[in-house]
């Protein structure tokens, strides 16, 4: 204790130095990864506002624990882990509201202009309607660029399960798009 107090006193300059470098690291982390995190959060909860809250909570926790992040390369996985935990916490606080994404999809499809946007929006609906266990590996693969092994690690599944879920996710998307007149025949 005494050592700690005196250590603090004599290392004042170093402490503020560390603070500054922590700030720099944090800023770099936010700049590089907040977009990915937001998108990932969005695809977990299908709500931009909730996704923003999730990202805010995630980065706040990341700031507090930044010293424990030794490997910058692992930063993204680390943040995703925090965000998933935050999302799970959200469900603990408030029991799952099934109507959540239905509402959102109604709102968002309205003001669409060109065909590309329409197509994107249609596909977003389909992605949102995927069972979560299929959607999450897909989001990690597509947005995170993770391999099957990495996804398996992140989600605590084995790799074969992950590959099967990825297969089912795309398969379901394809099938549901094949039912849509706009997409019909595109993927045959």
């Amino acid at each position: 204790m005494i050592k700690k107090i005196f250590g603090n006193k004599s290392d004042k300059a170093q402490v503020s130095n560390n603070m500054a470098s922590k700030q720099v690291r944090y800023e770099a982390l936010v700049r590089a990864l907040h977009g990915d995190l937001f998108r990932y959060g969005y695809w977990l909860c299908h709500d931009k506002h909730i996704a923003e809250d999730l990202v805010q909570e995630t980065f706040l926790r990341a700031w507090r624990a930044l010293d424990s992040l030794k490997d910058e390369k692992a930063a993204k996985s680390w943040l995703i882990t925090i965000l998933r935990r935050e999302n799970a916490r959200r469900f603990e606080r408030k029991r799952f509201d099934m109507s959540e994404y239905d509402e959102m999809s109604v709102v968002d499809t309205q003001a669409m202009g060109n065909e590309q946007d329409l197509e994107n929006e249609m596909l977003r609906d389909k992605i949102a309607q995927l069972p979560e266990e299929y959607r999450e590996p897909l989001v990690l693969q597509v947005l995170g660029g993770y391999s099957g092994e990495e996804i398996a690690q992140q989600l605590h599944l084995n790799k074969n399960t992950v590959m099967t879920r990825l297969f089912r996710a795309r398969n379901q998307l394809k099938e549901s798009l094949d039912d849509e007149p706009m997409f019909r025949g595109q993927f045959n």
Partner: protein
């Protein structure tokens, strides 16, 4: 399966990862036009999935995140500062207390202890055959801080300097003695040290007298007639105030 990937296996691999670099899958794609076409259609689907998932990030999210962190760390810093201030205050308080304590409880509590310690510490510096001789005038110059002076020299003065009795400045005089040098200390009044008029440690003995403006201590070896010194001091010293 090494030779030729069956169709189901191929489709599963493509669905699971359209961008797979698996050599079996690549090989199958190359050798079978139907498989190639299937792969391309799923690649197209995958591009669409990428586009669809790549939703816009709110423009102000970065700024919001930075602001939130700044506020949070400011909050943290404030409470940390408060704790540090409190700690600094208690340390200062403790240091103040112990300083006072140390001031009043020095290594020695008796004048006699200091006197012996100084004599023994400096014994090697002086000897009875020293040629040094300090004049009465320069001695009286030093005595002026005590508002006193000697009318006549007590003997052959070898050294006159100030020394420290646990924070108290004392005039330290060394005279030639009978066998060994004799040390006389002039100690200012108001010291917290205990006064003993007669003390001894087997090798040295000392006697002290209290005067108006100072206490005077004489320390010498066993053969030294300290009474003689004491009476000379009483006779020769003058206090101006």
């Amino acid at each position: 399966m090494n030779e030729k990937m069956d169709d189901l296996q191929f489709r599963r691999s493509i669905y699971a990862n359209p961008r797979t670099q698996d050599s079996d899958v690549l090989e199958a794609k190359k050798s079978d036009p139907a498989k190639k076409q299937f792969a391309q259609s799923i690649e197209k689907l995958d591009q669409q999935i990428h586009r669809a998932m790549d939703i816009d990030v709110p423009d102000d999210l970065y700024n919001k995140l930075m602001l939130r962190q700044t506020l949070a760390s400011h909050q943290q810093q404030k409470s940390k500062n408060r704790i540090q201030l409190a700690m600094a205050a208690s340390i200062a308080f403790a240091v103040g207390l112990s300083f006072n304590f140390m001031q009043s409880s020095n290594a020695h509590t008796n004048l006699s202890d200091y006197a012996f310690a100084h004599v023994e510490h400096e014994a090697h510096l002086f000897n009875n055959n020293s040629d040094a001789q300090i004049t009465l005038a320069s001695l009286n110059d030093k005595m002026s801080s005590f508002n006193g002076n000697f009318t006549e020299s007590l003997g052959n003065l070898i050294s006159a300097s100030n020394c420290d009795f646990g924070g108290i400045t004392v005039l330290h005089l060394v005279y030639k003695g009978k066998d060994q040098p004799v040390t006389v200390f002039v100690v200012p009044p108001n010291s917290n040290l205990n006064f003993e008029s007669d003390f001894s440690n087997g090798k040295l003995h000392g006697e002290a007298q209290q005067f108006k403006n100072a206490s005077i201590i004489v320390v010498g070896d066993k053969n030294e007639p300290l009474n003689q010194w004491k009476s000379n001091i009483s006779k020769d010293i003058n206090w101006s105030i």
